[in-house]
Symmetry: C2
Subunit: 137 residues, 2 copies
DNA sequence: TTTACAAATCGGAACCATTCCGATATAATG
DNA sequence: CATTATATCGGAATGGTTCCGATTTGTAAA
């Protein structure tokens, strides 16, 4: 997912395309890993005119709802990153830099066989640790 | 893990065995699923003499650190349950009642093969939904 | 058993991420 | 350009969690 496609999606769904929204999309397009609302706010200080936390959170939720961002929870803070969207996969997440690496394995097929009569609404598979780059630094 | 074994562990590690700590252990032994600090506080109202949030959180962390409780994050609140400890497994978690069902599948062996050079510190595999009991209710 | 002290508890204040709110500004439409 | 629903803003409120100084309590030693 890139900025342009996200903007098209906003328009198509009847949401307005505003400066704050564009700024947020640009930020998450450039960042590699999971980032928080605070990360973004800190970034705006030096780059865009500053923006209300309310606006940031509202749009994070909107982007998550629209599938533009994917979300996870680390140390009591919500983290977001651009959604790759194409193929279903999971992530290794680096605790130091927030960077991710795709894990193309998902055991849900087997799990569904076990959970007969259960209504499955979602699942999470994440691996945490330190990436090679942060390890050597 | 049962109350008695948890108390032995506390003593062995040099922690004091106090009333609040025993009450908490008893609560989590009887409960089936994931429970929050607030859940426990609500329970104490009618059962034990009430207890400070500080104490509850401090001991929840201690129990998690000692492996007495396992933890997860649901809707911005930390949830805890007694640790089964014996065999490595994951959980289906019911969004309604917090109850769990074991999932004896773990894809970490395969994943470790992919993540060479990565320092793996932990992983999470959880399935969310509604259990048969809550579904029919 | 009594003493002594480190460790644990308590209640309330503080913290921090997140959300709510009323007032203002702005993108989209005709 | 005028209209209007939608979005933004700043500041106040919320809710889960943690911190703090004062007090209490297990536990080990005398």
């Amino acid at each position: 997912m890139d900025v342009q496609r996200a903007i098209q999606l906003l328009q198509h769904e009847g949401y307005k395309v505003t400066k704050p929204r564009e700024n947020m999309l640009q930020y998450f397009e450039l960042e590699d890993g999971y980032r928080t609302a605070k990360d973004f706010m800190a970034f705006t200080e030096g780059n865009y005119e500053s923006m209300s936390f309310d606006t940031v959170y509202r749009n994070l939720h909107l982007y998550h709802y629209l599938g533009i961002l994917e979300a996870t929870e680390l140390d009591g803070e919500k983290h977001f990153r651009m959604n790759c969207m194409s193929d279903h996969h999971h992530h290794f997440i680096c605790k130091d830099c927030g960077g991710t690496k795709k894990i193309p394995i998902c055991p849900m097929d087997e799990i569904e066989k076990i959970l007969t009569n259960y209504e499955i609404e979602g699942h999470k598979l994440e691996v945490y640790g330190v990436c090679p780059l942060c390890k050597s630094a």
